[in-house]
Symmetry: D2
């Protein structure tokens, strides 16, 4: 029986497939005295790429050193691109939100419930709609409104907040400002956004109005990593819900809120559990 109490490491690897990769990784872990808890691999027959997520219990007293050694091995010996995390280290998350607060509340409740394998460390907003709730949850609230001094000044303040808090992930929970390419270069961590449509349908502004005009029978929401091209980043998770001619734009907005909060919450959980690997503007999600 396996001891769940030992320190755990999680590695995400990808690179050109060749014989012996699974044997190499599992053999390395076995010889270090580790025990594999989960391992999932994927071979993309089209591109010849190999992807793996492996999670193991370490028997060494120093998991950080073991992580470094594994990275060295998988990079040098196996030719893989490696990302490795210590399970015990909880990632630090900042939420950006504007006046639509449902997705932000969902993340806060997930966190309080213990369902989020990370910690929310700040709420950043160009509005004050979340200020009282942030206080209720004893969370720092940074009110950074859009002003005449311009986007560059605003983003500089945002980046300063994120750096001070050592943030590992930024979540745009219906944050209605477009982040500049410069911001994305400097932020130094992934940014996850929730788009309120089934991308690539209805990219851009007012997707529920677009959906209503087109007369679709399903509406959707899409969580994706943010890239400089608007609404075009790698998709992490999507859901849809049935609508009909009876639904006004207001009904679509209401139904969409449920979709948005669930899809974003699931995407953030998948990311924080180190289940998402980005590859050629797509994701491999080990769920």
């Amino acid at each position: 029986m396996i001891d769940a109490g030992r320190p755990r490491l999680i590695a995400l690897l990808h690179g050109p497939d060749r014989s012996g990769l699974v044997a190499g990784v599992s053999g390395w872990i076995y010889h270090k005295g580790g025990t594999i808890l989960h391992a999932d691999q994927h071979h993309d027959a089209t591109t010849g790429a190999f992807f793996q997520r492996v999670e193991w219990g370490s028997s060494s007293g120093d998991p950080a050193t073991e992580a470094a050694a594994f990275r060295e091995y998988a990079t040098q010996e196996l030719g893989m691109v490696v990302s490795i995390a210590l399970h015990a280290r909880r990632p630090r998350v900042a939420i950006f939100v504007s006046q639509h607060v449902h997705a932000c509340h969902e993340l806060l409740l997930d966190w309080k419930q213990g369902d989020l394998p990370g910690d929310i460390v700040a709420i950043v907003s160009n509005h004050t709609a979340m200020e009282a709730s942030a206080e209720h949850y004893h969370l720092p609230f940074h009110h950074l409104p859009v002003t005449q001094t311009g986007k560059a000044t605003l983003e500089a303040k945002q980046l300063s907040v994120l750096r001070d808090l050592h943030v590992d992930l930024v979540v745009l929970a219906r944050y209605m400002q477009i982040l500049s390419e410069d911001f994305l270069c400097q932020v130094g961590c992934p940014v996850i956004n929730i788009h309120h449509s089934f991308l690539p349908a209805f990219a851009g502004a007012r997707p529920y109005h677009q959906a209503h005009t087109r007369g679709v029978k399903l509406i959707g929401a899409t969580a994706h990593y943010v890239t400089p091209v608007l609404d075009d980043g790698p998709i992490i998770h999507q859901e849809v819900r049935r609508v009909s001619h009876r639904d006004t734009v207001g009904d679509l907005l209401r139904k969409g809120r449920d979709l948005e909060k669930l899809v974003l919450s699931e995407a953030v959980r998948l990311h924080l559990e180190h289940r998402v690997l980005i590859y050629e503007n797509k994701t491999v999600v080990f769920d």
Copy 2:
């Protein structure tokens, strides 16, 4: 208790909403001795339009004359656009198909099962993949291949077949040729197509390849009325199914086949039951 054996009429109405429309329609039917079996109405608050589907049992011995009288009343007195059908008259359906035969087989099995409130009267194809099955079901099979004589000649032959058979509906069950605007003008009945994506995402050719490239997490299928603008007609029904990075394009094609056949079959059933009303390039589906 209502006598289910009496002749039934089904009317679809739409026009500008005003007080007394429901009372007018139901009063007219009541005074003719009819009994309403189903009635469903919709008021579009944005445009001020009224939509109704009403199905009633007639006590007159001549439902065709009653239908004409109702149309006269609803048009003249209520200002409605009216479409009216006798339940006993089974619409005649022609299926167009190319080499992908799953959606065509689904319709044939629905029909044989008694689930289709209409009759399939012919299969038209530019391939021979369905020839033996058509014979098995004792159905006329028209092999009209695409030849060097050109699309106009081919479409003239197709139109001739449809006219000879007095067809009420053409169903494109993965028919891989684009119908010309001229064909659509002359065909004289609705044409329903199945598109193998969640429209408006991935319109045009090879949608599963497009979906695979974009890395979406759901694939879909869309049944719609055909209009001269490709993949842009009023949507009748849509469904999606979850996919992952593990799915090759081949897997998407296989999963898509199930979606396509179910979505098309449902759309055809809804149309043949007179449940679909077209309005401003959208549909009102009374289900």
Copy 3:
């Protein structure tokens, strides 16, 4: 075009079907100067029962008197059982909750968002987990723990709270005590419960453990009206979600929380919009 600003009435009717019911109801409303906004009827061919929901804009200055007159008419002249509500009167809701707070939070956020056509007026709990949040939302919190003095005493206190607040609906948002038949007789308003399984599978205690043992591939949640027979009342709404062998009981609990909160929230909304009619231990939901 219809004036949305006029007072609105909503009637739910059911009784034995006969000719002229739709004409009678719509004619009555028309002659009073009312305008039908929505009307939906259902004829149950098996039992010969008629069901209708009709919502209209009144032109009288006294909608309460109009409601009484309509009830008189539909009862006496049409032989219907009638329930009628003024749209402007917001129902008053009390939430009962124990230590699992996700479904309670969902209802509170819906209410704050403006998605709940009623008002939450109190939280009643045998635990204190919701106390701080109730205070944050400026809501009365009644901590009524289960003590040695017994269930009868506890329920008497609960009934007293409900009477003082003139409650129209009690929602059991994961309230883990069984209400006595005596309580249900005296409460004088409907009680909606969320059961954490796809009823009738896994009625009773620890349904996720039961589901895990049976190895089902979908888990569900069921919102239903409470009757003296445990988990047997009329079902309002149900949803399911896919699970696999990878899901531990803990994972089922987490996935179940999302189901529970969404299903309960939808059921409460449907009830408060007067869309649910109870008939022979089943519901007719006009959505």
Copy 4:
């Protein structure tokens, strides 16, 4: 890049978990010159059991001998229960069907489409509804009606047919007779059944009638392995579909047909791809 043309082996293993299992299996394959194409493992934290599906390309000219050697290794050295299949060997399937033919047709069309990794070799029926279609597909049709000579005689004939055809899987595609425990002992291969409800709700006869009486809002279908206890065997796959008060029992039957055929078809495909492992009356499905 991996050569897809080499012979492939697929192994399913389960047994008590311990360190080194993944390394052992992947190392064995690597040292034989094999290349892992897919590998998926699962550790059940509750029971301490390990489950694995591993599929590899063999470089030996004799995959049958390699399979035997692997079985020997995994059984003796790793303490696993092992099932191993050669990808090139297509399992032989017999379909049992009564008068409801939709699920049988679905399997036949899947097979003809090339979506079924096995071969249908016979249809056995107590009715003649499928006789003409069997002939159309050039398939042996065995009409074995239920007669006064009794179930034992009938089952002896069925077993004789199955033995003569060297059948690897029996699929009950709406076969309405209960198979005896004696038959199940002697059949010598798995038997998959489609039950027309979301088990464990509505086990036994006439589940759609049961569902209609209970007033559920979703109906389902369940594919499971047959065991001597009726409707209690390990569940392979389940799906549900929304229904409402508008649906008569006839509508539930129609909607159910789509569910049944899709769920059974998916379960058969999963089984034939060696993705299903039975464990404690549950399944582990590696999909």
